[in-house]
């Protein structure tokens, strides 16, 4: 049987993959997808803690409600973020972050 540590390690590795994507990729849409990976890694560790924190024979459902809220907020974030990317593309004709440097010091 898998232990809580195995789930936490899987979650942490998924977070690391997403983090690597944010650091290494130059396409803003791929960076956005990597952000989603990191968000889902946090959800996985929350569900793991929920299952391993048993009270009165039931998992801790408060954590699952929190995951539900995170998924909802993430969906709203994707909608707004992609609208921002479309507006940015319309202004600059690119999604390559090295061409989007007007805020750079």
């Amino acid at each position: 049987m898998a232990t809580l540590n195995d789930y936490l390690l899987a979650s942490g590795l998924l977070f690391t993959v997403g983090f690597a994507g944010v650091l290494l990729r130059r396409n803003i849409i791929i960076i956005f997808m990597s952000l989603e990976l990191m968000l889902n890694a946090a959800n996985l560790s929350l569900v793991g803690f929920s299952r391993f924190h048993v009270r009165a024979g039931l998992p801790d459902y408060n954590a699952q409600v929190l995951v539900f809220f995170i998924i909802t907020v993430a969906a709203a974030e994707v909608a707004v973020g992609l609208a921002v990317i479309v507006a940015l593309y319309r202004a600059k004709q690119t999604t390559h972050i090295e061409d989007l440097n007007s805020l750079k010091f």
């Binding site: 993959v17 408060n62 699952q64 539900f68």
Partner: protein, 167 residues
């Protein structure tokens, strides 16, 4: 869930997560992300969170990925051509990631409470969807309303941002 199945789904999730990062074509990345989220939904189901597994597939693999693919097609993105790496940034990124995995390993396997095997849960007459729903509509009424308001604000904002002239 048997241990072998757990590791298979972890492997699917991580391999396709890496594919998201290394694929040059944005469409291939988006499709890899769908498979990665399917593996994640299977892990949720292995943790007896059936409701969240279904929600993960419906919201992420369904709605969010359709939105991503739609935007990729709309912007008509090609596979990346320019590959001149900033060597310092790449070196820094790899060092940070290696250190992160090291810390993660130490924390996970030095955490005694994490060695617990699955505690038994009793089979109740209502499933976990009922339990989550009861918690959501009894304990968390106000946050639920606030999330609803947030969704309205987000959709209005997305429409406003897509207008041609921002005033």
């Amino acid at each position: 869930m048997p241990s072998a199945l757990f590791w298979i789904f972890v492997l699917v999730m991580l391999v396709f997560g890496v594919m998201v990062v290394v694929n040059r074509s944005p469409v291939a990345s988006a499709l890899s992300l769908v498979v990665c989220f399917l593996g994640l939904a299977a892990l949720y189901i292995s943790l007896d969170a059936f409701f969240l597994g279904v929600i993960q597939i419906l919201v992420y693999a369904g709605a969010v990925m359709v939105l991503f693919l739609f935007i990729i097609m709309l912007l008509d993105l090609k596979a990346e051509q320019r590959r001149h790496f900033n060597l310092i940034a790449m070196f820094g990124g790899i060092v940070v990631i290696v250190l992160f995995v090291k810390v993660l390993w130490d924390v996970c396997y030095g955490f005694q409470g994490g060695n617990a095997v699955f505690p038994a849960i009793q089979n109740t007459e209502h499933g976990d969807t009922w339990q989550v729903g009861m918690a959501l509509f009894q304990q968390y009424k106000l946050p639920l309303q606030m999330i609803g308001a947030l969704i309205v604000v987000a959709s209005v904002g997305a429409v406003l941002l897509s207008k041609r002239e921002l005033k």
